[in-house]
Symmetry: C2
Subunit: 214 residues, 2 copies
DNA sequence: TAGATTGTTAATCGATTAACAATC
DNA sequence: TAGATTGTTAATCGATTAACAATC
């Protein structure tokens, strides 16, 4: 399910690019090609979410985007808080891409008094007020950008206050209640994984060269 | 396979934390609990990579770390280049975590002459010299931190010059030869996915409350 | 020894892919 | 109409989990 949903967001992305260059309709095959997947996968994903096209004429891009927008909640603004105003937290706070895509960072929290500031476009507040803030605004989404040893505590406080979705940048596996969804981004780990498979690729090459030499 | 490998890196992480607090041996169960997985999964992963413990006494942490280090290439320094010196590229360049974990960013490339600088600890070079640099140093690993419309071109040049593993931050699906491994990080997409499931979580709650009310 | 733990084989689960009927 | 494309059902694949024999 998670994979299907994230593909739906990607289809939407692709469709918006297609629309920008003047396209009006697409076939499942066009989407598949752009996204390195199969036409069957595309149709399967759509069918799972009740999206249908025309037996011959494919899908109307504009209409499809509207359907996906509603399905994926892209027709609303989503409010987010970030906990942690270190390098990463600040980078995320200043990243313009969120706003463009319908996310509004309403506040950042930190436990370092020197980082607190109510002046900027996005306030940086003391983490003590976290729960109160979340409850008062009925927020659902939180981003964790604190060191690994603080992440579980932050997650616990977030969920206790009603957060239902967490994007976690700390390299630990968070324990959260069943009514909260967590997604992890671990840059370090991704780079490690890439380096592992890069090594494999090199070794394979060597082997096939050895084979050739025989 | 990818999933297993990335779990191995996580086991290593956990083991290092365990060792720091003075632990000497672990059972598959301890690792599983810390990582939110099952003991069977842990043993299966190990067995897949020929790692074995003691029928009764579990695994020796120190020895296990050494084995994982060799298996995962953590016993060597890996050299990396970054293409794109925008916000993200700069953040990655200044991120200390890589060096700690055995990755050394040897250069950053950009096509904006104003960003070029050979003075800093890590030089920022004109992207024209990319292929030459990769070939001269026989580099395997590249990070793509350029806008989406430039990513495919960069990937093509990287792979043509011999790069075997790419960590891609651009929100597009890269087409690369079969002897190059790509891993994608798409912060925007992850946040979208989280927001989708957060909504589901809220709706489920509403439903169960409705049920209760009956 | 009895109990606990590993390592592996078999079963299950979920996701992707193949096949194909429906139809524009 | 014939050919192309969708939507769905069945088959396959890969990963996780359950079961359990081996053994410390």
């Amino acid at each position: 399910m998670k994979l299907t949903v994230s593909r739906l967001y990607k289809y939407r992305d692709t469709l918006i690019r297609f629309r920008q260059i003047g396209m009006v309709r697409v076939f499942s095959d066009d989407l598949a090609e752009d996204m390195n997947t199969s036409a069957t996968q595309v149709r399967k994903d759509f069918s799972l979410f009740g999206i249908s096209g025309n037996k011959k004429g494919g899908y109307q891009i504009h209409r499809l985007i509207i359907q996906l927008d509603r399905l994926l909640g892209k027709d609303k603004t989503h409010f987010v808080i970030i906990v942690g105003a270190g390098n990463l937290g600040k980078a995320l706070m200043n990243y313009g891409g969120f706003e463009e895509e319908g996310f509004k960072v309403v506040a950042v929290f930190d436990n370092d008094p020197r980082k607190i500031s109510r002046k900027g476009k996005i306030p940086v507040l003391p983490v003590q007020g976290l729960e109160r803030f979340i409850k008062a605004r009925e927020l659902d989404l939180g981003i964790i950008a604190v060191p690994y040893f603080a992440a579980q505590e932050v997650a616990g406080r977030m969920t206790a206050a009603g957060i239902k979705g967490i994007l976690n940048f700390a390299p630990v596996s968070l324990k959260v209640p069943g009514d909260c969804f967590v997604s992890n981004i671990n840059v370090q780990l991704e780079l490690e994984t890439v380096s592992y498979f890069a090594k494999i690729m090199k070794e394979n090459k060597k082997h096939s060269q050895q084979k050739k030499a025989l």
